[in-house]
C-alpha cells in the first residue's frame, strides 16, 4: 500500500544562541514511512529525538534537510516546505496530533472542547457531539465534569480529554506522543482499543509509547531512533 507519510533524509539540529551558540544535533538522515493501517512506534531512550520527529512531521519544528511527504487528497505535500496555511489546512483535515499535555483553553467545557475538535476536523456537528460523549464515556471522564473547563481537572483527566480531542475526527494520519503516559491500566486499555479502531479504519499512525505492553499491542513496526543519531563531527 502507498504510504501516507514518508520521511526522506530528514535531519534536525538546534542552535542554542543564548548558550554560546551550542549546536545540538538531534537526528540525521531519517528515513521511514507509514502506510494505511500501520502503527509505526518510535523507540529509543529519552532525548533520542522521538518527540522532535513527531513535531517535525506536524510542522511544529522545522527540519534542516530532507522531506516529509504527506498525502493530502490526491497529492503528496512536503511539510518541510509547505506554506503555513497549507500546514494548518492539513492539520484540520489530514493529520492529528496528541501530545502528552493539554494546552488548556479558558472558559470552555470539556465536552465542548472535544466536540469542537470534531467539527474542526470536518465532522457534522451532531456526529461531533455524539462522538464526543461516546469518547469521554469510553475514557471514563465522569459526566459531571463534562460542562466544566479542564483547568481544574487532575492530570489523568486532562490527558483523557486531550486524547478524546485528538482522536475524535477522522483524519488519515495520527501522531501520538506518549498518550498513555499518565493513565492507569484501565484507561491504557481504552487507548489501545481506540488505536486499534483507527488502524482498522486505515489510519497511518506514528506513535511514542513508553509502556511496553501498550507498545507490543499496537506496533506494526518499531523504528529505533538511535539509528538516526546525528554523526557529530
Amino acid at each position: 500500500m502507498q504510504p501516507l507519510v514518508q520521511l526522506d533524509g530528514v535531519s534536525k539540529a538546534f542552535t542554542l544562541h543564548l548558550h554560546e551558540g551550542v549546536r545540538l544535533d538531534v537526528v540525521s538522515d531519517v528515513n521511514f514511512s507509514a502506510a494505511p493501517g500501520e502503527c509505526i512506534v518510535l523507540g529509543g531512550p529519552s532525548g533520542a529525538g522521538k518527540s522532535s520527529l513527531l513535531k517535525i512531521v506536524y510542522g511544529n519544528y522545522s527540519c534542516d534537510a530532507g522531506h516529509i511527504w504527506i498525502r493530502d487528497g490526491g497529492e503528496m505535500i512536503d511539510v518541510a516546505t509547505a506554506e503555513p496555511r497549507r500546514i494548518l489546512a492539513m492539520r484540520r483535515h489530514v493529520m492529528g496530533y496528541v501530545s502528552q499535555f493539554l494546552r488548556v483553553i479558558p472558559r470552555v467545557g470539556a465536552l465542548e472542547i472535544v466536540a469542537a475538535a470534531g467539527r474542526e476536523g470536518g465532522l457534522d456537528s451532531q456526529v461531533a457531539q455524539d462522538r464526543a460523549e461516546e469518547y469521554l464515556s469510553l475514557l471514563n471522564v465522569p459526566e459531571r465534569l463534562w460542562t466544566l473547563p479542564p483547568a481544574t481537572f487532575s492530570g489523568g483527566e486532562q490527558q483523557r480529554v486531550n486524547i478524546a480531542r485528538g482522536l475524535i475526527a477522522d483524519r488519515p494520519v495520527l501522531l501520538l506522543d506518549e498518550p498513555t503516559a499518565s493513565l492507569d491500566a484501565r484507561n491504557r486499555a481504552v487507548v489501545v482499543d481506540l488505536v486499534e479502531r483507527k488502524k482498522k479504519a486505515g489510519v497511518a499512525i506514528i506513535g511514542i509509547f513508553h509502556d511496553e505492553d501498550v507498545r507490543d499491542k499496537v506496533a506494526t513496526h518499531v523504528v529505533d531512533v538511535t539509528h538516526f543519531a546525528a554523526k557529530t563531527a
Binding site: 544562541h17 519544528y61 487528497g73 503555513p84 489546512a89
Partner: protein, 262 residues
C-alpha cells in the same frame, strides 16, 4: 483538499520601506496575506510594528515598495494608485482598525449605538430602526449590555471600550482588520475575555487580520502566522507555533525565553 485554499492573496506586500528622515521606520517588508489568515507582528518597542501597520492602512506614505489589495471585484489594486475617495471607502467599509488607544478608535462623545451606526451609514444604511437594531445586535455579540446603547464610551471601562471598537469595526463585515495592541493595558482577566471574543469572531467571520502585539501569548492564541521584527526589519517569519516552539534567530530565541522566564 488543495481547492479549499484560495490561490490569490488578499494583500500582497513587497519591499515595503519607510524612513523618518535618516531613521528606518521599517524596511524591505514582504509578505502575502490570504483570506481568513491572522498574522501577528511581534517585536520590541521601536521595532517598526506600528509603522508597518500605518503603511498597510495607507495612513502613512511609503518611501519604497508596494502594497496590492484584492478588491471585492477580485481585481488586485496597487494601493498607492487609489483615488482619495476609493481609499476612504476601503477604510470605512472593507477594512477595520482596532486601536490600542480607544479614544483614537471611537468617537468618545457619541453614544455606543452611534459609534456602531456611523460605520453602517458609511456603507449606505439609512433606515433608523434597522441601524439601531443592528447596533443592538452587535452590542450583544461583543457582550456589552444592550441597555448601554445610549451611553457614551467615556462612561465605559477599558475592556468595554475595546469591545465597542470591535463592534464598530466588524459591523460592516470588513475583509481585513488591523489591530494595534488591542489588549494591552487591560487587566489579565479582562484581556482573556477580550481575546476569546476576538478569536471567536475572527474565525466565525473568516476575517483576515494583521495584529501588532508585543505579547507572544496573544500571538500564540490568535494568530496563524508570525513575523518577528527587529530594527525595522522582519528577521523571522512562519507558522506561529513553529516560530514560538522552534525559534531560529538569536533575537527570537531571546523573546521566547523571556516569556518563559516571566
Amino acid at each position: 483538499m488543495l481547492n479549499d485554499l484560495p490561490d490569490a492573496p488578499l494583500l500582497s506586500v513587497r519591499d515595503l520601506t519607510r524612513y523618518y528622515g535618516e531613521r528606518i521606520g521599517c524596511a524591505d517588508v514582504s509578505f502575502d496575506l490570504y483570506e481568513g489568515e491572522v498574522l501577528a507582528v511581534v517585536g520590541e518597542s521601536g521595532s517598526g510594528k506600528s509603522t508597518l501597520l500605518s503603511l498597510l492602512a495607507t495612513e502613512l506614505e511609503a518611501s519604497a515598495g508596494s502594497i496590492r489589495y484584492r478588491m471585492r471585484d477580485g481585481i488586485a489594486r496597487d494601493l498607492a494608485t487609489l483615488t482619495e475617495a476609493e481609499r476612504r471607502l476601503l477604510l470605512r467599509t472593507d477594512w477595520g482598525f482596532v486601536r490600542q488607544d480607544s479614544t483614537q478608535g471611537l468617537r468618545m462623545s457619541v453614544s455606543a449605538g452611534g459609534n456602531i451606526g456611523e460605520r453602517l451609514m458609511a456603507v449606505g444604511a439609512r433606515h433608523y430602526g434597522n441601524i439601531r437594531g443592528t447596533s443592538l445586535d452587535w452590542l450583544g455579540r461583543v457582550e456589552i449590555d444592550r441597555g448601554r446603547i445610549d451611553d457614551i464610551p467615556k462612561a465605559f471601562s477599558g475592556g468595554m471600550r475595546q469591545r465597542l471598537q470591535i463592534a464598530r469595526n466588524l459591523v460592516t463585515h470588513p475583509r481585513l482588520v488591523f489591530m494595534d495592541e488591542p489588549t494591552s493595558g487591560l487587566d489579565v482577566s479582562v484581556q482573556a475575555r477580550l481575546l476569546d471574543l476576538i478569536r471567536g469572531l475572527v474565525s466565525e467571520l473568516g476575517l483576515a487580520v494583521i495584529i501588532v502585539t508585543h505579547d507572544l501569548s496573544v500571538a500564540r492564541l490568535l494568530s496563524h502566522r508570525i513575523m518577528v521584527m527587529k530594527g525595522g526589519r522582519v528577521i523571522e517569519a512562519g507558522l506561529t507555533d513553529r516560530v514560538l516552539d522552534d525559534p531560529h534567530q538569536p533575537y527570537t530565541q531571546l523573546l521566547v525565553s523571556s516569556v518563559l522566564a516571566a
